[in-house]
């Protein structure tokens, strides 16, 4: 519930993503900060941020499939991979970027539908198995295809983005490139949340039997959930391809899929904000620990380094556990509660 003093004159006002003026200002400040960031940061941070934006896109997709529609998917990284290979292949034909990115999204979406079909019957965690199949088949199929299709073992190299006369080459270019796309997808993800389509996904997640009886075509909705989620994965894949300039199957592993899922859950699977918080939180912890460990090794304090990196794993796992124990419904939920408490203080609400 919103605190006293905030009321809406129109339904449109109520449906806004940023409901109050203050929220709008904060968001504007955030965007401005991100735009200005390269002025103040080295390429390492830019690289991390670029990577984080891409991860964010993939996790938005997962938010749609898993968070909104409740269809377990542990193959998101394979779907990102499909997007990446599509983009790489198409870039070879010299297509412009504004064709390639949507095309990568659509191809990924179309392929995901294939793996979504079992969702008609298979439910709950068992669905993990069919998506796991997608993840396992992805490298095998690419490797088994003739070399000149998707590069087989070698992988494909990617032509850099050409926008007008400008060819994007530097990390700075790709920072802005992914920032823009991530911003667009952020708006899209939040839009889904407040639309008819999003509600139908959530209804299917919460109670698919009832949803069917209450007029929501459940099978179609589940398929669309995978399709929509894979659109995001496809864009993330295209960005990966552009940023890495070279795609091979080995970059899209089951472990990465599990990580995507982890970020979503730590952040809170039930809101797009959760995706953002989860990605930021885990990236921060991961990079922070890793950076410190690298520094220590270079300083020669722990010459062989083995122990140190073991400790970073322990700390990372520990951080996630603590986040979960502290707030099993995800950081987004905690954020919500804190905000409510702050606005209502000192009166608990009834």
């Amino acid at each position: 519930m919103l605190p006293t003093g905030i009321h809406f004159g129109t339904y449109a006002g109520e449906a806004k993503i940023l409901k109050t003026r203050r929220a709008g200002l904060w968001a504007a400040a955030l965007v401005a900060g991100l735009i200005a960031l390269p002025l103040a940061s080295g390429p390492y941070l830019l690289g991390v941020m670029t990577h984080m934006f891409i991860t964010l896109m993939a996790v938005y997709g997962l938010y749609v499939t898993v968070g909104m529609a409740g269809q377990i998917n542990i193959a998101q990284s394979a779907f990102v991979g499909i997007g990446a290979f599509t983009a790489a292949k198409l870039s070879g034909y010299g297509l412009p970027v504004w064709v390639i990115v949507p095309a990568a999204a659509l191809v990924t979406g179309a392929i995901s539908v294939l793996f979504a079909l079992p969702a008609a019957r298979v439910k709950g965690f068992y669905l993990a198995l069919t998506t796991l199949a997608a993840q396992v088949m992805f490298p095998i199929v690419i490797l088994a295809l003739p070399m000149d299709w998707l590069g087989g073992l070698v992988g494909l190299s990617v032509e850099p983005v050409r926008l007008g006369g400008l060819t994007l080459t530097t990390p700075l270019h790709y920072y802005y490139f992914t920032l823009v796309l991530a911003a667009v997808l952020t708006v899209a993800a939040f839009n889904l949340q407040r639309s008819r389509f999003g509600r139908s996904l959530m209804a299917v997640r919460d109670n698919d039997v009832v949803a069917e009886v209450m007029g929501i075509p459940v099978f179609r909705t589940k398929i669309l959930a995978f399709f929509a989620g894979s659109l995001f994965a496809g864009v993330a894949g295209a960005c990966t391809a552009y940023v890495l300039q070279f795609v091979t199957v080995s970059s899209f592993t089951l472990f990465a899929s599990v990580w995507y899922l982890g970020m979503l859950i730590v952040g809170g699977a039930h809101s797009a904000l959760g995706a953002v918080l989860g990605v930021v939180f885990i990236t921060l912890v991961q990079e922070g620990l890793h950076g410190v460990a690298n520094k220590v090794v270079q300083a020669g304090a722990a010459t062989s380094g083995g122990m140190l990196f073991a400790l970073t794993s322990i700390a990372l796992g520990g951080c996630i556990l603590i986040a979960l124990i502290f707030e099993p419904r995800g950081l987004a939920h905690r954020w919500h509660v804190l905000r409510t408490a702050f606005q209502l203080w000192p009166f608990p609400r009834s």
Partner: protein, 375 residues
């Protein structure tokens, strides 16, 4: 003047077990070189190790930072993830990358900035196979076990197929069996291989595969020599199985066998090490660092102590021949050009064999590798 040479490590991924020794090798050689050579030239090489977890995504993320923070004059790469993520951009970044692991055929491209002290895995195996074939005089019937979804492992087999294709009267690949990286049992696979008539078994994948193959042979009453590589070599295998059971098996590579009687690099390591112990991977990493340092030496000679950069380093690599002596006996004489990412000309290999439960070098010189076209 200080120059940074950055290095990839894998402390938290699949090669975490060998990493401390590998990095100890690099550090020890760098320390020795700084004292023995650098001081005289007025330069100091500083090694900066980054944990890349053997993960292409981590490499991609970390590399820009290395570039800006350290401006390295060379990078010591580790494994396929470094190769596939960096090889396309190194020419722009103007940083040569020196690998200690062998290449895989899929990065065999001209005009690269990535170079290895070793040729491809397949070249190394081919050197050993040729040696064996020559001694026996008969056509060598090769069987292989590999893993389907690991590009590098598949590539090893492809190279050997190319070898058989090129020299049809000397070699034949009778069968390739696909297995998991940690198989439960390889009995069926070995039965198939033996009925296909394999006389020697190429297992360039994992240590677990080698051990499983040895167990399966014991079970089936077979004894086919196994050829392993460095990352799953005999020292690794020896941790899990009595070496006597592997009598006659090989590890093929192309730097000096760490147990070679007379090996100056080993003495350098032992004298300068802070931690770690001598072994195959230590030798490999030490040799890798040594080549990079020798490049620096030649670059200084060419452009002066203050002007060395990535380009000068690459030029030093391409314009000079590095003698076995300069390389402290760790490597054969190496010559590079821009047609291939590994030494050209007469490529050499080396190997170890298990005899009476002990690992000994095969011969005490280098083996010649038959010429191979790119596959």
């Amino acid at each position: 003047k200080d120059y940074v040479i950055s290095a990839s490590a894998d402390y938290s991924g699949p090669f975490a077990d060998v990493m401390p020794n590998a990095m100890a090798g690099i550090n020890a050689v760098a320390d020795w070189w700084n004292k023995a050579v650098g001081d005289k030239l007025g330069v100091k090489a500083q090694i900066k190790i980054y944990d890349m977890r053997y993960d292409a995504a981590v490499v991609a993320k970390t590399w820009p930072a290395i570039l800006s923070a350290d401006a390295p004059i060379a990078h010591l790469g580790f494994g396929t993830p470094d190769l596939v993520t960096l090889m396309k951009r190194l020419p722009n970044d103007k940083v040569p990358m020196i690998m200690g692991t062998a290449m895989v055929g899929l990065v065999w491209a001209p005009d690269g900035w990535h170079y290895s002290i070793r040729p491809t895995y397949s070249h190394e195996f081919a050197g050993l196979f040729a040696d064996i074939q020559e001694k026996s005089g008969k056509k060598l019937r090769i069987g292989a076990i590999s893993t389907q979804n690991q590009a590098g492992f598949v590539d090893q087999v492809n190279g050997i197929k190319k070898l058989a294709e090129t020299y049809p009267d000397r070699f034949e690949v009778v069968d390739v069996q696909w297995a998991e990286t940690s198989p439960v049992s390889l009995s069926s696979n070995l039965r198939a291989l033996s009925s296909a008539g394999a006389e020697i078994l190429l297992i360039g994948g994992t240590t677990a595969q080698v051990i499983a193959a040895a167990k399966a042979m014991e079970e089936l009453g077979l004894s086919i020599p196994i050829v392993t590589s460095t990352h799953n070599g005999l020292y690794e295998v020896a941790k899990g199985i009595d070496l006597a059971k592997l009598n006659g098996s090989y590890a093929a590579f192309s730097f000096a066998p760490p147990a070679r009687a007379d090996l100056p690099l080993r003495d350098v390591f032992e004298a300068n090490k802070k931690d770690g112990s001598w072994g195959l991977i230590t030798a490999q990493a030490a040799a890798q660092a040594l080549l990079a340092l020798r490049m620096l030496e030649k670059a200084v000679a060419k452009v002066g102590a203050d002007e060395v950069d990535g380009e000068a380093m690459r030029a030093a690599l391409l314009d000079n021949v590095f003698t076995e002596e300069e390389l402290l006996g760790a490597l054969p004489t190496l010559d590079f050009d821009d047609t291939a990412p590994f030494p050209i000309g007469d490529i050499k290999a080396s190997a170890e064999i298990v005899q009476d439960g002990k690992i000994v070098p095969v011969g005490d010189g280098w083996m010649s590798v038959p010429a191979l076209e790119k596959w």
